[in-house]
Each structure stands twice: as structure tokens, then as C-alpha cells.
């Protein structure tokens, strides 16, 4: 029965539902991913998408399985025959339009660029992955990816202590710290304590240490004059540092507000931008320059009643603000002849993120190559950027010789000088005034374009999670080039 299936799916997926919720899971189960090339890296990526419940996948792979493939691939034990991506690009590029996301593994440069162009024009996210010896590489290509639920680690609280809204002010007023009995005094939430002392401290330029001392003096004293054990006051003192941060909109969110899409709302505008515009309207018209109140407070020493009452003050304000935003959403949508379907929730307003990746064409074109990033990263000659340049160079080698360097033992030595020519021509073409050490040229010949399983597996986990981020629109994808160096167990992300 349907109920049984839902319950057992809840059980099976319990550990991941706690991360992206039922709505994230639904996105995953409605997605259709295309994997190109079921090499070890490809199948590992796929495994890590199938396990959490990806809705559907299609594998495009024109290669025949070899003995070498069965040696590093957990999922191969028989031949797989299929159409090649090159043939599809030749005959039926629209084949790719049906997918939520296309993942290209171990693609030759020419195929990669052709596919990149098709997918860019069709607005389909493209994730390029490769394992090359002990190096892993990922490139995300998506024009614009918007995220409402970014789930930041360690976000600051939204307590509004510097500009308490009316309901909060009234509530703070209702407390009389000096007139309270001991039990109430020791169980007053630290937010109230800090707010009360702020009222005594009229200056806007307070020294935090002096302010903490002032609060400390408020701790009840015993008959002998020694301070009582009031944990709530200790909490107040500890939290002064962050509680006094001025309420303001982060530059990241500000940038999003100033985005083009925020200005011109049409019937084609995606929900994200309508919501964001509505929040912007709120900020300018109703919020006095502030975002809608988030509505959550951290746990703190307090008796239940005081805490719940305070929590409800924030929650109700958040709901009020959210309904004002929702009205803006409604009227924006009405103005372009649409109906509002989703409710707005305040808690994510401060954490909106937009990821825009440059196209492969931009990365590869001489006119638009990101020279600065490459040159400055090459200041550390043994960092990950040199590995990127080597990957580009072996691609050149492949274009010239129709094979990768050093595949067979006897080729290793003689390919070094050939590969070096490719490196030099690459650097020259892009006018990159950097030095690539000979050691890396030797090493990449040594790799012989091998795909060792453990490196493929590391990439498989990394890529699958980025794919899940794109599909669920939760958490934030990388932008836009990721390199993994298994020799040093280090990684780097570049925006190329």
C-alpha cells in the first residue's frame, strides 16, 4: 500500500531526511540525471545518487568494457554497449534537454566543449568530472543557481537588541530586574538581561568589556556580599560579543537585491526572484531597512514560561513580517497575471545565495580566460593550480596525438618532451607568464591517464553531493572548478 511504502521510505532515508527534509527528498525523486561514461568515476557518482533515491538516470557510453575497466569499477562484470555522446551531439543534441542535470565523466576536451555549449543554451546544469592519476577534477557549469535554503554553519542570531521592535520593547519593559525575587532573577533569559542593561547604557559606542562588567554587577549577592551562582547572568556576559552586533543586511544579500532579475518581474520570472523582490519591498517599505525578523532564538537558562513567552514574541513578529512579504509576493504575481502558490518563510531571508558560473566557452577563450586567477594561484608553484594547467595540457596532447601521454610503459620517457611542448603552447596561447615545474610534466606522463579506484571514489562522493545540491536547491554548490590532490590530500576551488 502507499502508506507502507511512505513509512518504509521514511525509515530507509531517515538519516538523510534529517539533512534535506521531505521536500528535498521529493526533488531528488523527481530528478532525471544523465551520466556520460560509466567509468569507475562515473559509476561511483551514480552509486552515490542511487543510494539516496535519485528518481531516474540515463547512461550514455559508447565504449566497450575492457579488462582494465573491470579492475577498477565496482559495477562492471559484463559488456555495456551504447551510443556515444559524440554521436548524440552530431545527430540529436536535444536528447539532453530532458535532464535535470548532466554529469560528464572522463570527456575529451572537444566533446566537453560541444556538450557544454548545448547545455548552456538549454539552461541545463552540467557537471564535468575527471579522475586523472592521483588528481580529481570537477567543473560546475550553470548560468544561475538560486538557493533559498543554504543551511549555513554557525549563523549569527537575529535578536534585534540594537533596534528592538515594538512588541519586544514592551516585553522587555514588563521585567523589573531589581524588584524580582531570587528565583525569577536567576531564571530570566539572558536576552532580557542584555536588553535591560542596554537601556542603562545610552552610548552607541560602548566598550564591550565595560558593558560586561556592568552586567556582572547586576548579579545578586548573598548576605555576606559574595555573588550568587546565576548562570543566566554568566550567559548574558558570554553573549555580549555577538548580541551587540548591529542588525544589518549582509553584502551578499544586498548584491542579490541589486540583481537585474530582482528589478524586472515578468510572468517568466522564477519564484526565487519574485520572493527576493518581495523581501526587498519589505525592507524598503515595512522593515525600516531590515529583513523580516527570523523568529528563532537560541536555548538559554530560563524557566519555561519566561523562555516560551520570549520565544513567541520573536515567532509572532516573524510570522507578521512573513505575511507582509507574502502580500508583496501576491501583488507582484498579480501584476504579471499569476497566482501565488508558495508561502514565504522568514527564516531563510538572510541566507539567500545565488551561484553563477562562467561558461566553458568563457573559461577556454583567449579573450576571457581568467588570467589573474591562474597567475596569482601559480605563485604557490606546488598548489593545485599547476594540476589544472597539467589537465589542460594533457587535453592538448590528446588533441594532437589522439591518445593521452604515458599510457604504455615505453611511452613514459618519450612523452615527457612532447607533453612539455603542449604545456608551453598552452601557456603561450593564453599569455600566461607562469612556470610549470618539469616534475609535474613527468608526473602526468607517469599517470598514463590511469583512473585508480580510490581517487575515483573520492570524486564520486564529492560530485554526487554537488549534484544533490543542484537538484534539491539546498546547501551551496561550489563555483566553479574543484581540484583534489590525492598525493597531498589537499583540495582547492577556483573560479575560472
Amino acid at each position: 500500500t502507499m502508506a507502507f511504502t511512505k513509512a518504509s521510505k521514511d525509515q530507509k532515508y531517515d538519516r538523510q531526511l534529517r539533512l534535506w527534509g521531505d521536500h528535498g527528498q521529493e526533488e531528488l525523486e523527481n530528478a532525471h540525471v544523465c551520466l556520460i561514461n560509466s567509468t569507475a568515476s562515473g559509476t561511483e557518482i551514480l552509486k552515490n545518487l542511487v543510494l539516496p533515491g535519485i528518481g531516474a538516470f540515463t547512461i550514455v557510453d559508447g565504449h566497450k568494457v575492457s579488462g582494465e575497466d573491470v579492475g577498477n569499477n565496482f559495477f562492471l562484470s559484463n559488456n555495456s554497449i551504447g551510443r556515444s555522446p559524440e554521436k548524440l551531439l552530431d545527430n540529436d543534441p536535444e536528447f539532453f534537454h530532458r535532464f535535470t542535470l548532466v554529469i560528464g565523466v572522463q570527456l575529451p576536451e572537444s566533446t566537453c566543449l560541444r556538450l557544454g555549449s548545448v547545455l548552456w543554451n538549454a539552461n541545463i546544469p552540467f557537471l564535468v568530472c575527471r579522475t586523472y592519476g592521483l588528481v580529481g577534477y570537477m567543473r560546475l557549469v550553470v548560468k544561475e543557481h538560486t538557493v533559498i535554503e543554504s543551511h549555513p554553519d554557525n549563523a549569527l542570531e537575529d535578536l534585534r537588541l540594537d533596534q528592538p521592535f515594538a512588541e519586544l520593547k514592551n516585553h522587555i519593559q514588563s521585567y523589573d530586574l531589581e524588584g524580582m525575587g531570587k528565583k525569577d532573577h536567576s531564571h530570566t533569559p539572558w536576552i532580557i538581561i542584555v536588553a535591560k542593561y542596554l537601556e542603562k547604557w545610552f552610548s552607541t559606542f560602548y566598550k564591550k568589556e565595560a558593558f560586561k562588567q556592568l552586567i556582572r554587577q547586576g548579579i545578586l549577592k548573598s548576605e555576606k556580599g559574595t555573588p550568587e551562582d546565576e548562570e543566566n547572568f554568566e550567559e548574558a556576559i558570554k553573549n555580549v560579543n555577538t548580541a551587540l552586533n548591529p542588525t544589518k543586511i549582509s553584502s551578499g544579500v544586498d548584491d542579490i537585491f541589486n540583481g537585474e532579475q530582482c528589478n524586472d518581474i515578468t510572468s517568466q520570472t522564477p519564484t526565487f526572484w519574485v520572493m527576493t523582490r518581495a523581501v526587498r519591498e519589505f525592507v524598503h517599505n515595512d522593515g525600516g531597512g531590515n529583513l523580516p525578523v527570523r523568529g528563532s532564538i537560541p536555548d538559554m537558562i530560563a524557566d519555561s514560561e519566561k523562555f516560551i513567552t520570549l520565544q513567541n514574541i520573536y515567532r509572532e513578529k516573524a510570522m507578521q513580517d512573513a505575511s507582509v512579504v507574502s502580500k508583496h509576493v501576491e501583488s507582484l504575481l498579480q501584476s504579471v497575471g499569476k497566482v501565488c502558490e508558495t508561502l514565504f518563510c522568514s527564516k531563510n531571508a538572510a541566507f539567500l545565495r545565488v551561484v553563477r558560473c562562467r561558461s566553458l566557452a568563457e573559461e577556454y577563450s583567449v579573450e576571457t580566460v581568467n588570467k589573474d586567477a591562474i597567475t596569482s594561484c601559480m605563485d604557490s608553484a606546488d598548489g593545485e593550480m599547476v594540476l589544472y594547467l597539467m589537465l589542460r595540457s594533457v587535453d592538448r596532447f590528446y588533441q594532437q596525438h589522439s591518445r593521452y601521454p604515458g599510457v604504455y610503459n615505453y611511452q613514459v620517457e618519450e612523452d615527457i618532451s612532447k607533453l612539455k611542448l603542449c604545456v608551453n603552447s598552452l601557456l603561450q596561447e593564453y599569455s600566461l607568464n607562469v612556470n610549470v615545474k618539469d616534475d609535474y610534466i613527468h608526473e602526468f606522463c607517469r599517470y598514463g591517464a590511469s583512473e585508480p579506484h580510490t581517487v575515483a571514489s573520492f570524486l564520486g562522493g564529492s560530485a554526487a553531493q554537488e549534484a544533490i545540491k543542484i537538484i534539491t536547491r539546498q546547501f551551496v554548490p561550489f563555483n566553479n572548478t574543484f581540484i583534489y590532490n590525492a598525493m597531498s590530500q589537499t583540495t582547492a576551488t577556483f573560479q575560472l
Binding site: 518504509s8 552509486k47 569499477n73 613514459v412 599517470y447 564520486g460 561550489f478 598525493m487 589537499t490
Partner: protein
């Protein structure tokens, strides 16, 4: 443990720590590098035992070819593969999220003699990531099913399962392995393994015998975060050297749970800790079984009632289960990444192809992908690996309870239920032991006695045993005035 000579430079040079190498072929004749100039297709050849052409190509690249970044003592050889296939013995601890990935990674990297230890059985909630298991396997031992799957899928691989706790084995078991890799979900278990490998170390005239070192690769994950580390016991930072990296689990204060709940979690803890023992809903002596849906359902309903009493919202079945079982969210991807990093290190060490990770990598892919790789430092007075006797400073009038509290609360020790014995009047006397009910009852009065009352003297040695270590730790009692 097979004796194999190790190349290592004087310990003064920190950089030399990086150059620790297990030189595995000293005894054998070495082939000359000139062999590699022969025109030879890279292929696995038809070696012993039903191999097929090209099977180990992806690995041989790293074993047979010289390179600029290899370990200084690395010598390319066609024999290295044979060592991995025929001789090298690896122990995998845990057959769960990390364990399944590790077994696959090792099997596809040429390791054939692998043992795996796991005391757990398979649960439905494992199936979103522990891919060696299927629905039909639920209830069966993880180690057994994992071994069956790998052995069936990777011809020639021989994974030996052990449906046991790590504490069920002694030194003679652990000594047989070249490398041990852990995919555990418990800090206590990690510390125990750490202690076990430290206990295997042999010192001759104060000098560590390198052949007694078994490298420990340790991986851990939690949601989208993870870490991988390489430990050479006796040489690099051990688990206890960096105990502060694992902050102690925060439990809610009892007064909050008993009379001042504020969060839905407080309500659940109230039911679990206070209401269940009082109401005994499923009978006398029937403890709360976190895996029993009926028990969880009862806790859930009672938690809702408790929450309603205090106008607390947010108690759901999922939250209830999470609190009772102390659930940590988990996904396939993080486990894949961390296990892969660990397996790469196993390969590096076994083949001496590259310098191993030195020595700790942290991973987080909440926002993009972030890693941080650093060298965790040995603690000079580490209670486990420093061989520096640990002092306990107490006044003679201090109660034994204070000593117990110190052992459990001190950030560097973090013991769970220490058992303390001392030699008094020539006899070994148990001062306090918690884990056996009858002895606990008998020794409990000692907790409120002072150290002087118990007959302890200044400079006296106290032997402390705990689940966090297989070996008894010795402390020296130093009286303060």
C-alpha cells in the same frame, strides 16, 4: 607480525617523520630499474589465481613506474603488486557507512587479505548508504554480509568477517595486521583501538622498535563533515593527543529536564530518563529499547503531553527518535569521500609509493567543498602515548569522588567509568569500580572517604582502568598541602 625492516631517519628531524617507510622488499633481490625500459605493455598479466588481462593496470602505474613525487625510498618493482595481493594484511574496523566503502576501495586497490570487525546487525536506516546490504539482509550481522558481497563481487578477494566487538580480541589478533583502518562511530572505540596499538609497541633501552608499529588510519563522518587521519603509534600524534578536537557530548542539565523544559528535546529526555523508569510502560525491568517502534511511539506520545504542559511546540516522531537514539544524520557521499581518502593512505603506506598524509584532513561540503590539512602535534604529556607518568594532585583530605570526577571531567582524559585500584599493605585493593554492580555497591562508600582515610600515601601509584583504553593507566598521587 611479519618482521620487516624500516627505513627511518633520526627522530630529531620533524621532516623525517614524513619519511617513515615500510621497506618491504629488503630481503628479496631487487630488480634493476633498467627493466622498465623494456617495451612492455602495462597489463596485469596472468599471475597466480585467475587474473585477467589489464586487471591491475590502474594500480601498476603507481607500483612499477618511477616518479618525481614518490617516497624517497620507493623502488619501482613488478613485485609490489604481489605483496599487496598475496601478503599484505589489512584490518577494517566497522562495516557501516565507512566500512562498506573501505572494503570496496581496498579490494579494488589490490588488497586481498582483509579482516573486518563489526558488532552490529543491519538496520533499514543503513540502506541509504551501506551499499553492501539489501532489504533482505536486515537483522543479519554487518561483517558477514559485507564480506560475502565483496568476496562474491571481487574475484580473488578474501574478506574474513568477525561479528564481534573490538574488545573481544587481544594483542595476538591485532599483531597480525600490517595496517589497521577504522570507520567507527564512537570515540570510546577509537580510543580503545589507539590504546591497543600503543600497547603493541616495543621499546628496547628506551628506543622504539619500528617493526612493532602498526599504522592506524582513522576516518569519521557526521552529515556533511568528515575527517581522515594517519597515526603511526609512538611516532605521530595519537587519538588521545588530540582529544580536545572531540568536544565532550553535551547533556542537558537535570534541572532543565526535570522542571524547566524549553525545547522539544528537553521533553523527550524527560520521558526517557524520568518518566519511563517511573511508569515502566512495558513491564518491570523492561528497559527502553531505542530500536523498538512501540517504545518510541510511547515516548513520543508522552513527550507531546509534556510539551503541551509547557506550551512547547515541535515534538515530532522524527525528533523523538533522534533524541532517544542520539541519531547523527548521514549520507552516502561524505562516507565515500572520507573512506576513499583513508584507502588512498592505506595504499600509499603499503606500497610506499608516496609520502603518507601528515597527518589530519578535515572535510566539509555544506558550502562548496572545503578541506583543511594539517599536522596534529603530539602532546608531550599525553596520557596514552607519551610514557610520561601522569600526576594526580590532590589534598590528602580530598574525597575519592573528587578523583573520579577529575578523571571523567578533565578534557585530556575524558574517562567514562574509571576503576581505581592501588597497592595497600602489599595487597592489590579495588578502591572503586562502577561496571560490576556488586563491586560498585561494595566500593561505593569509598567515594565519600578521604584519600588519607583510604590509606593512600604521597607518591602512591594508582592504576586506573576504563573502557577508553585496553591498558591500565598508571597515575602517581601527589599530595598538595
Amino acid at each position: 607480525m611479519l618482521s620487516h625492516p624500516i627505513n627511518w631517519l633520526p627522530a630529531e628531524s620533524k621532516a623525517c617523520m614524513n619519511l617513515l617507510l615500510f621497506s618491504l622488499f629488503r630481503e628479496k633481490k631487487r630488480r634493476r630499474v633498467v627493466e622498465l625500459t623494456e617495451k612492455m605493455v602495462v597489463d596485469g598479466g596472468s599471475r597466480d589465481g585467475g587474473e585477467w588481462d589489464g586487471r591491475w593496470n590502474h594500480i601498476n602505474t603507481f607500483l612499477e613506474r618511477p616518479g618525481p613525487f614518490t617516497h624517497p625510498d620507493f623502488e619501482p618493482s613488478t613485485e609490489s603488486l604481489q605483496f599487496l595481493l598475496d601478503t599484505c594484511k589489512i584490518l577494517v574496523i566497522g562495516a557501516g557507512g565507512l566500512g562498506c566503502e573501505l572494503l570496496k576501495d581496498l579490494a579494488l586497490s589490490g588488497f586481498r587479505h582483509i579482516h573486518v570487525v563489526d558488532m552490529d546487525t543491519i538496520d533499514v536506516s543503513n540502506l541509504n548508504r551501506q551499499f553492501l546490504f539489501r532489504l533482505k539482509d536486515v537483522g543479519r550481522p554487518k561483517a558477514d554480509i559485507a564480506a560475502d558481497f565483496i568476496n562474491g563481487r571481487i574475484p580473488g578477494c578474501n574478506v574474513v568477517p568477525h561479528f564481534k566487538k573490538i574488545q573481544d580480541f587481544d594483542e595476538s589478533f591485532y599483531r597480525q595486521f600490517h595496517i589497521i583502518v577504522c570507520g567507527l562511530d564512537s570515540i570510546i572505540a577509537r580510543r580503545w583501538m589507539n590504546g591497543m596499538l600503543l600497547s603493541l609497541l616495543v621499546y628496547e633501552d628506551g628506543v622504539l622498535d619500528p617493526s612493532s608499529i602498526i599504522p592506524l588510519i582513522d576516518g569519521g563522518t557526521e552529515g556533511f563533515k568528515g575527517n581522515a587521519r594517519v597515526i603511526f603509534p609512538g611516532m605521530t600524534a595519537c587519538i588521545d593527543c588530540t582529544l580536545e578536537l572531540y568536544p565532550p557530548q553535551i547533556n542537558f542539565p537535570m534541572c532543565t529536564i526535570a522542571s524547566m523544559p524549553r525545547l522539544p528535546e528537553h521533553c523527550v529526555e524527560y520521558v526517557r530518563m524520568l518518566l519511563w523508569p517511573k511508569e515502566k510502560p512495558f513491564g518491570d525491568g523492561v528497559g527502553l529499547d531505542a530500536d523498538d517502534p512501540e517504545h518510541i511511539q510511547w515516548v513520543y506520545q508522552k513527550s507531546q503531553e509534556r510539551a503541551a504542559e509547557f506550551s512547547i511546540t515541535g515534538v515530532t516522531y522524527r525528533l523523538t527518535q533522534g533524541v532517544v537514539k542520539r541519531i547523527i544524520p548521514a549520507v552516502a557521499s561524505t562516507n565515500a569521500v572520507i573512506a576513499a581518502a583513508c584507502a588512498t593512505e592505506v595504499f600509499k603506506i603499503a606500497s610506499s609509493a608516496y609520502i603518507p598524509l601528515n597527518n589530519y584532513m578535515v572535510f566539509n561540503d555544506v558550502d562548496g567543498l572545503y578541506t583543511y590539512t594539517f599536522e596534529a602535534e603530539r602532546k608531550e604529556n599525553c596520557s596514552s602515548c607519551s610514557q610520561v607518568p601522569q600526576d594526580l594532585h590532590f589534598s590528602p583530605s580530598a574525597k575519592l569522588q573528587e578523583v573520579v570526577d577529575y578523571l571523567t571531567e578533565n578534557a585530556s582524559l575524558q574517562m567514562k567509568s574509571p576503576a581505581i585500584t592501588a597497592t595497600l599493605e602489599g595487597k592489590n585493593k579495588t578502591l572503586y569500580l562502577q561496571t560490576v554492580a556488586s563491586i560498585e555497591q561494595r566500593t561505593r562508600p569509598n567515594l565519600s572517604k578521604s584519600l588519607k582515610e583510604l590509606g593512600l600515601l604521597d607518591g602512591q601509584e594508582l592504576a586506573v582502568a576504563d573502557v577508553t583504553t585496553p591498558q591500565t593507566l598508571l597515575f602517581k598521587l601527589s599530595f598538595t598541602s
